[in-house]
Symmetry: C2
């Protein structure tokens, strides 16, 4: 179903329905808040530059979210949601204008206890973590953008992160414990999702409901140490990273592999990044440092950095060179670069990594984030690519595919291009018919909704 | 090298060398303290019954251990070490008499900080854990015998335990951080082993040195919940246990699978063990309970017990039905039972489990402890066997081998029969030439020492 044409944000009846809410009409502010980091991709840059909401609403309570959702349903106005705006695929960029909810003031931590925490969607991940730590807990995983990103944005647009090397994926059972969503109907409902139902809204880009509260599993707080290890040889570095990930005796939060010359782009860490060497960036539990050192010695590497991890505003934490920050650090130095995002074959990921490094050399700079997937140590890759043309980029993708390395397309804003599991995709499409019958939530992002005849219109509502 | 004949414990010169130490000559006490739980095995029972030390010494300091070791070296007296006496293979049973050190009074916790703890060898594991918990930490793994077993005994005679489902094996890098050992020489040395050198004394049954201090990696304390899940079908239960182990989003301490009729032997837990059902016993982080419940629902099981884990002297903790306690619980009811201990093929362990269950039925009651091995979720098994004859027992072993299930022989007191890695075996043999040149430490347990010409005597000291 196509959404009805959005009325101008100036429509007096629509404005009246939002009376008393914090509204932003200023064009510069609207453009600014309608963007994320999609500009890493020259393709998305072309497609998304200039897209903006007609009106920003900054709710301060769930009741206000409900008022906005009800108004949009009644008036047929597209409705999007913005957290910290740190996504990379235009997850929250409004394709059809309309209203954008800025969740930044829905930022209360509701409670933290016995390994669980419940947060309003707009709580920044770093604040959630600090508050948890004050009670002896910590987030099990977070994106490298945690200083800006929100809890709600992470569960709607993220998949894994710093911590995934031990706690796996955000979608794994036990990771996200509950989501409270507001539906987009004339009379919006509040729905509490738990268990397998979490998949209805997790990693759905806000197309199936407005996530207003998130309950996360926490870990007891570990003391972490940042380490960098350098290797002469890429294959050795890759085997080391895999062996490290498989070392159950060493509790880890981060294991990131960067092929030379990627480290050349990393400002502020030069002493730890010797010329011409491939590096592995590590966060290990303090008690695991001697174990890491033993493993490094066994593999013939050199420890070039070892320091306690602290969240010091004056220092760039090691994780801000990893995950999607790797690409950002490189782009700061060289604007012609872009990147890919890929998933590796289970049980053969190291071999595939080495083969791709040998095939492409410096054109596709290997960058792998080691993590648990389906109970195994695997990696995904955010390769930094010397961009020449779209044609060459897709040729690289094709060649990677030949090595068993599958694209999780970072040059697309379409939900289904991100490797969402079929189970979730079915669940989400089905739920959208109940939660967003007019198709107003983040329209244009869920291709199965856009392309398929509406079950609701056929009377086939599930 | 064969040890020299032990002088009678009454030799005045030898007794004079031990002047002022706590000595025990009483025959009943000597017999009692010279035993462990080898009697699970009818074979070991025949071989080890009646073996006893000539003299028990109860040291109160490392200095006293040094005095005993020096005296034994000078007088050529065999020297063994006893912790809690909870081993199952006669690890500490003195085969040739001599002196047995009872480490029970070397029981100081030296320090606990930032995920590490250092303990004298005689500290009971439960006390180490309670002391760690008072500071917000906990042991990463322990044997089911933790209420009696000591830290030193565990690292000398144990391999894994409750906690291995996330932290892997005791031998994995990062698990044991240091061992302090006293050598058995005329002038004994104190040697601090770290890194790969830990393998010189870890799981060596005290044949390569007297472990007097142990430094362990700790975890931040998790709140745990005990759960029992029942299944109609063994194969489903086995697949569930594997899937649970592979669920990185659920932090676990225990995942034990017991085929019916094993649960029939478990007193005190009857309500949670429905007739004819196969069960999985679980300790999960409190925040993981909903994740476990989702997975149970997916596999069609029933949660029959869910209660917070507390160490209550009046209640049998769930872990006391698991690991080697499973066999003990069964033996309490039926003295004719015995057991096997086996290692499963990586990546095919569930299939092997199911095949063995189908092949043997109730003669070999499946009992699998799920754990991380080499970074993967695998299991080892402590099958409870209806014993008929030695011949039939070895026939079963042969048939299991045909399914890829390898024996880690619990009917042998020989170190090398326990699947010690070749690397450790080489390291241990080599170290023994330095640490125990007269071959007095726990003689008869290390077959490579007993059977090979001494490198030391050939002048080939490594």
């Amino acid at each position: 179903m196509q959404p009805k044409l959005a009325p101008p944000a100036a429509d007096p009846a629509f404005r009246a329905a939002l009376d008393g809410l914090e509204l932003i009409d200023d064009p510069a502010q609207r453009r600014l808040r309608s963007r994320d980091f999609y500009w890493y991709s020259p393709i998305l840059k072309r497609e998304l530059d200039g897209k903006a909401a007609d009106l920003i609403v900054v709710p301060r309570s769930i009741d206000e979210v409900v008022r906005v959702a009800g108004a949009c349903a009644r008036f047929g106005v597209p409705l999007g949601v913005r957290g910290g705006g740190t996504g990379n695929y235009g997850q929250m960029v409004p394709l059809q204008g309309g209203v954008l909810l800025d969740m930044g003031k829905l930022d209360r931590t509701l409670w933290i206890e016995r390994g669980r925490g419940r947060f309003e969607a707009g709580v920044k991940l770093i604040d959630a973590d600090v508050q948890a730590q004050q009670q002896g807990w910590e987030l099990r995983m977070f994106p490298s953008t945690r200083r800006q990103a929100t809890v709600g944005g992470y569960v709607c647009g993220g998949a894994a992160g710093v911590g995934s090397i031990r706690y796996g994926q955000l979608r794994d059972a036990g990771s996200v414990l509950a989501l409270k969503v507001v539906t987009c109907e004339e009379t919006p409902r509040l729905v509490e999702l738990r268990g397998a139902d979490i998949g209805k809204a997790l990693h759905a880009y806000g197309t199936t409901g407005i996530v207003v509260e998130v309950e996360l599993a926490l870990a007891p707080a570990w003391p972490w140490v940042e380490m960098v290890v350098a290797f002469d040889d890429f294959a050795t570095a890759a085997h080391f990273a895999q062996a490290l990930g498989e070392s159950d005796g060493i509790f880890l939060k981060l294991a990131s592999l960067m092929a030379w010359p990627l480290p050349r782009y990393f400002r502020g860490l030069e002493d730890a990044l010797p010329d011409g060497r491939h590096v592995v960036m590590i966060m290990a539990a303090a008690s695991g440092v001697s174990g890491v050192r033993s493993l490094v010695a066994e593999h013939g590497g050199t420890v070039t950095l070892e320091r306690p991890y602290t969240e010091d505003p004056g220092r760039t934490p090691l994780y801000e060179y990893t995950w999607n920050h790797t690409t950002l650090q490189a782009l700061k130095i060289d604007k012609t670069l872009t990147y890919l995002q890929t998933i590796f074959p289970l049980g053969a990921n190291v071999e595939a990594l080495i083969a791709s490094h040998e095939l492409f050399g410096e054109e596709v700079m290997a960058h792998a984030e080691f993590q648990r997937r389906q109970g195994r140590t695997n990696c995904s890759s955010l390769q930094v690519v010397r961009y020449t043309s779209d044609e060459r980029l897709w040729q690289i993708v094709h060649q990677l595919d030949g090595l068993g390395i599958r694209l999780s397309n970072p040059h697309s804003y379409i939900l289904e291009d991100k490797g969402a599991r079929v189970l979730s995709a079915d669940l989400q499409l089905q739920f959208k018919h109940e939660s967003d019958p007019h198709g107003l939530l983040n329209p244009g992002k869920m291709s199965r909704w856009t392309s398929s005849p509406s079950l609701a219109e056929q009377g086939g509502r599930p």
